[in-house]
Each structure stands twice: as C-alpha cells, then as structure tokens.
C-alpha cells in the first residue's frame, strides 16, 4: 500500500526484453511512470516503442525482467497469479483495439461479462449492462450480435463492458484505431463523459494525435523509455456522486 492516494499506478525501473542471446531485444529500458488517480493519461509514441508491452505489464498480464509496479496500492510482484486475476476482475476495465467481443453473445450479454465474472446473477448483470448500453446510445442494438454491429457500435459495447462493473482503472488500447475519424471522435467524447462522471482512472494507449485533447496528461514514449510527461490540465477530475 505504498502508493500515495492520488497515484493509481506507479511504475519504477521497468525493464523488459524478449528473446535470448544475440536475438535478445530490449523493449522497455527503465520505465518510471506515475498515473494519477481520477485522471485520464494517454500513453503515446510511435509503433514499436513499447506501449503495448508497458500496458501489459502495468495491468499484470505480463511479468517484468526488472523494476516494480504498484497498481491501486498493491505491489503486483507480491501477488500470486490467481490474486492478479482477481485484482483485474475487481478493479480493471479493458477496451481493446480489436474489441474482442464474444461473437456468440449479444451486446447486452457481452457488456455483462465482467459482472458474471464477479459472480453477479445473470439477470442483474444483464439489467445493469442494458442500462449502460442505453446510456451509450445502444438501446436499439442491445440484442444484436457483434457481427451485426458497426465498428463504432462494437466499440461502445466494449466500453460498456469495460465500465459495467465500475472499475477503478480503465485501460484502453488504441480505442480509435479501428474507427473512422467521426466515429472515433464520438466514441472518445462518450468515453470522456463516462470517465469524468465515474471518476475512474484511465490509461489510454494511442498514437492518434486527433484525440490527444481528451487527455489530462500525456506520457510520450520512445525507444522503450518515457521521454516526457505532458500535463494538459492541473486539477484532477472529481467523481460525481
């Protein structure tokens, strides 16, 4: 519990490489990063700079070769795999670039999955998921399957799935990469509204500079390092009651 109350995620000296011997490639070369609670932090940089690796490590999906990560006050290194899984299930929401919706489930069922993982009864989970989809403008599409939805609609379902269990940290991987400019902007506006309302901490990995204005701070990555952190607004967002 060493993380200060206003720091949701702290990384110190993160080192990660892949391969062995001459094929070894260092991807992260000593990352230090603080993500402030209740704010939206963008992690930006060119392809191959290590964004995906870093986000995988910060969420406990990937181990490190060195350094430490404190996620919501808990040192990830101290957790057993099952505890990491529970930490993710209870506290993290994910929006993936490729959405990764379950093709056999309709929009409501997809959005309800994190609640089912937590053991919420199916009826209640579906009710809460449907409410959230309604707010995301997906009321008419709640019973549709992913193959019947446009990219923007699928992304809204993915956002609903990421927020339905009221996580403390939201992780978005290239949320606009699979969307056209207009839809991308709409989705990000919706995303910003919801994160502002809920006070959730958000980490967004992107290289789409058209959406940088949605960030409270931007961490610029290059060649496996954080080059600089740019603050876009000073006051942390307040959660609405």
């Amino acid at each position: 519990m060493g993380t200060s109350d206003h720091i949701a995620l702290r990384a110190r000296g993160i080192v990660k490489g892949f391969g062995t011997g001459s094929a070894r490639q260092e991807v992260l070369r000593g990352i230090d990063l603080d993500i402030e609670a209740g704010r939206t932090t963008f992690l930006v940089g060119p392809s191959g700079c290590g964004k995906t690796t870093l986000i995988s490590i910060l969420t406990g999906l990937l181990g490190t070769d060195g350094g430490s990560v404190e996620l919501l006050g808990t040192a990830l290194e101290s957790l057993r795999p099952a505890q990491r899984v529970k930490l993710r299930a209870d506290n993290l929401g994910f929006v993936f670039q490729q959405f990764h919706l379950i093709s056999a489930l309709d929009a409501t069922e997809n959005a309800a999955v994190p609640l089912l993982v937590q053991g919420v009864p199916a009826r209640e989970a579906h009710h809460r998921a449907a409410e959230l989809l309604e707010r995301l403008g997906m009321g008419a599409h709640r019973a549709k399957y992913p193959r019947s939805l446009s990219g923007g609609q699928q992304q809204r379902v993915a956002i609903a799935r990421a927020l339905v269990h009221r996580p403390r940290l939201l992780v978005c991987d290239e949320p606009t990469a699979s969307l056209d400019a207009t839809t991308g902007r709409e989705v990000m506006e919706l995303f910003a509204d919801l994160t502002r309302e809920s006070g959730v901490t958000a980490v967004v990995v992107t290289h789409d500079n058209r959406i940088f204005h949605f960030a409270d701070s931007i961490a610029h990555m290059a060649d496996g390092r954080i080059e600089r952190v740019e603050a876009r607004s000073l006051a942390p967002q307040q959660a609405q009651p």
């Binding site: 995988s56 899984v85 529970k86 299930a89 993936f96 069922e109 999955v113 991987d173």
Partner: protein, 385 residues
C-alpha cells in the same frame, strides 16, 4: 460463466453439429459393432440357450465347443443317470443334414438348405426351445414330425405364410412340419429342425454311438456346479453347467476365429476416428475463439474457470453426441432386429455403459489439445492489433 461457455459452443452451429456428428458417429460405430459382436458370440451357443431346462451338458472329454461333437456311447447315458444328485438325464443329438422342401404335388425339388437337426428325448422331449410361433411341440410325438424355426421356415418357403402340415425331405426321408418355433438364432443362418431323438438318427443316417450330449436335470437343492464335478469324477465324461458350456463355446470362437479381431479393429477405428475428427474440430473451435478466451483471461477469468468452461463445452458435445449415436444404434437394432438375419441382436446396457466410458475417453483426448491452448494463451495478446 457457464452460460457464456454454452453460448460460445452453440453460437457456432456448424462446428457444434460437426462435433456432435463426430461423437455420434464414433458412438454409433462402436455400439453397433460391439453389440453385433456380442450377439454373434451369444448365437454360438444358441442350442444351449434353447435347452433351458437342462442344468448340465455332459459330453465326451475331447469336446471343445458346441458344434463339434464326439459321439458318446448309449451306455454313457445310463452311467450319468446313476450319479447321485441327477434327477433326470436324456439323450440329445445335434448334426447337420440337407433339407429340401416338397411341393404340393408331392414332388421334391423346392428349396434346398443345409439344416441343423436337433434330436431330443423321445419320451420327455426335454431340450426343446420354449417359444413356439405356430403349432404345438407335443405334436413332435407323431411319426416323421419336425419343428422348424421361423427364420428357417422363411428360408425354406420364402415369402409364404406360416403354415403347418408342409412336407420336407431330410436326407431323402420324409418329414412333416407340426410346429414352428421361435428358437434362439443360431450362429449360421441354417434352418433349425427339432425332432425326436429317434427321428433325428434316422434323418441323419447315423447308426450306433450317435449320442451327441446327455442333458441332465439336477435334483432339487443340488448345485449344478457341484453336480458337474460329481458327474465328471464318476463317469470320466466332461460335464458343464449351461453357463459354463456356453462360455466354453464362446471362448472357442474368440480364440479360434478372426471374429474378435475383425470387430475389435472396427471398434478401435471408431475410437481413433472419433478422437481424430472430434479432436480436430474441437481444436479448430478453440483456435477460432482463442482471442475471446484471451480477452476473458485479461478481463479476469481465471484458468480454473476457463478449464471449467472448456470442459463444460466438451461435456455437452460428448453427451449430445453419445445420446444421438446411441439413439441411432437403438434404431438399428429395433428396426434391424425384426429382419431374419439380424434377429436376436440387441443393444446390451453393458455396451451402452461401456461406450459412454469410451465417449468420455474420446472427449478427454479430443479436448486435451484445445484445453492446453486455452490454458497457455497469453492474455497480453489482446493488446496486439
């Protein structure tokens, strides 16, 4: 999450049906072949089954199975009757002979078949089958009287109604049909002719020393196994209980024919094809959903729960496929059992239970690879576009 697992499985209907078909095909093949094999082996001792009232079968010590006999002497019958604990002992004759139907005009030249001629004790008629389709077995006491089994009747008079009083020639000797039996189906499809012992000797041109077996009834309270030992000790003849002799005959066929190898090969092929087809399809199913499984892992679904989901999917495929395969096998025996060649074949519950176990084995083997993929999929792959 079980509902999610089921929807993932049922959502891909083509693959689900393919998986169910694979399991059903394997279950059908194994069930059908195993049941037919058991039916065939049971048939090897059909004459033993028909002579249900006999507690013991007494025969020459060299006899290995029902169909090859070494004749006893008539005096052996008397020796057996003298053994303590024997309530009754009667002669029993079994041999093959050509049978030809005789037309309404009295001229021979109809259907010619090789028949199994069974001769039972003239006075007691002990050793006859219990089920009679038409007529009365008591009428075998009339001169030249014979009974033919229903399947044999249809071979001798194809497509004709069951009718008594018809005339046959057995080894050029006249015989009259007085009853039609529903005897247990023999191993071969030959007509089964039952007659009195004296008639049987005459029909088959056997002279002295034509006694095939002695059928024995035990006195009340005397165990058949103990009596068999006593008969053997007293007479030096081979004595077997009904069950022992049936199994002895079955074991002979198992050891000396290619039947178990042939059927066993098909059963093994059923298992191998089942594992190959179902395993391939299940692996494809998992591969096609691997990113969804990875996403579930990232979201916070633990390995244990994922294993549970995959095993549930496997269980559903196995159960539905097995049920479907068993249904088809049951239909085969229900409908096919009414035909003459397949009469008496049935699906024993033991086979159904064993195939359930084999299906479970097929599913475990088929699921193993897919399960491994799910367990080892890296959840971080969901971040790779």
């Amino acid at each position: 999450m079980n509902s999610v697992a089921l929807k993932m499985l049922l959502g891909d209907r083509v693959k689900f049906l393919g998986l169910v078909f694979g399991v059903a095909f394997a279950a059908l093949l194994i069930t059908q072949q195993a049941s037919v094999f058991i039916g065939l082996m049971t048939r090897t001792g059909s004459t033993i089954v028909d002579a249900a009232e006999a507690d013991l079968w007494v025969m020459d010590p060299s006899v290995e199975y029902l169909d090859t006999v070494f004749a006893l002497r008539e005096t052996d019958l008397l020796r057996v009757r003298g053994v303590r604990g024997v309530a009754w002992a009667v002669p029993f004759f079994r041999a093959n002979a050509p049978v030809r139907t005789v037309g309404e005009s009295g001229s021979p030249g109809g259907e010619l078949q090789g028949a199994i001629v069974v001769g039972v004790d003239d006075s007691s008629l002990a050793g006859l089958p219990e089920d009679v389709a038409l007529g009365s077995l008591a009428d075998l006491r009339f001169p030249d009287a014979v009974a033919v089994d229903r399947a044999g009747y249809l071979l001798l008079w194809p497509g004709e109604e069951l009718r008594l009083g018809r005339v046959l020639e057995i080894n050029d000797r006249r015989a009259v049909l007085v009853a039609i039996t529903d005897a247990a189906a023999p191993f071969t499809t030959n007509p089964l002719v039952h007659t009195r012992y004296s008639n049987a000797l005459r029909f088959t041109n056997n002279g002295r020393n034509a006694l095939s077996y002695v059928l024995v009834g035990a006195e009340p309270g005397v165990a058949a196994e103990q009596l068999a030992l006593r008969v053997h000790k007293t007479t030096g003849l081979q004595a077997r209980t009904q069950n022992q002799f049936h199994w002895q005959t079955v074991r002979y066929y198992l050891a000396n024919t290619g039947i178990p190898v042939n059927f066993g090969t098909v059963v093994v092929l059923g298992i191998v094809v089942g594992i190959a087809v179902v395993g391939l399809l299940f692996n494809t199913f998992v591969l096609e959903h691997i990113q969804q499984f990875a996403a579930l892992k990232a979201i916070g679904v633990g390995n244990l729960r994922l294993v549970g989901m995959v095993l549930l999917q496997s269980l559903i495929v196995g159960a539905v496929g097995y049920a479907f395969g068993l249904l088809l096998a049951s239909l085969f025996f229900e409908l096919g059992g009414k035909s003459v060649p397949l009469r008496g074949f049935r699906l024993p519950w033991q086979v159904a239970a064993a195939v359930a176990g084999l299906t479970a084995m097929i599913m475990v083997a088929s699921t193993a690879l897919g399960l491994r993929r799910v367990l080892f999929v890296d959840p971080a792959t969901v971040f790779r576009g």
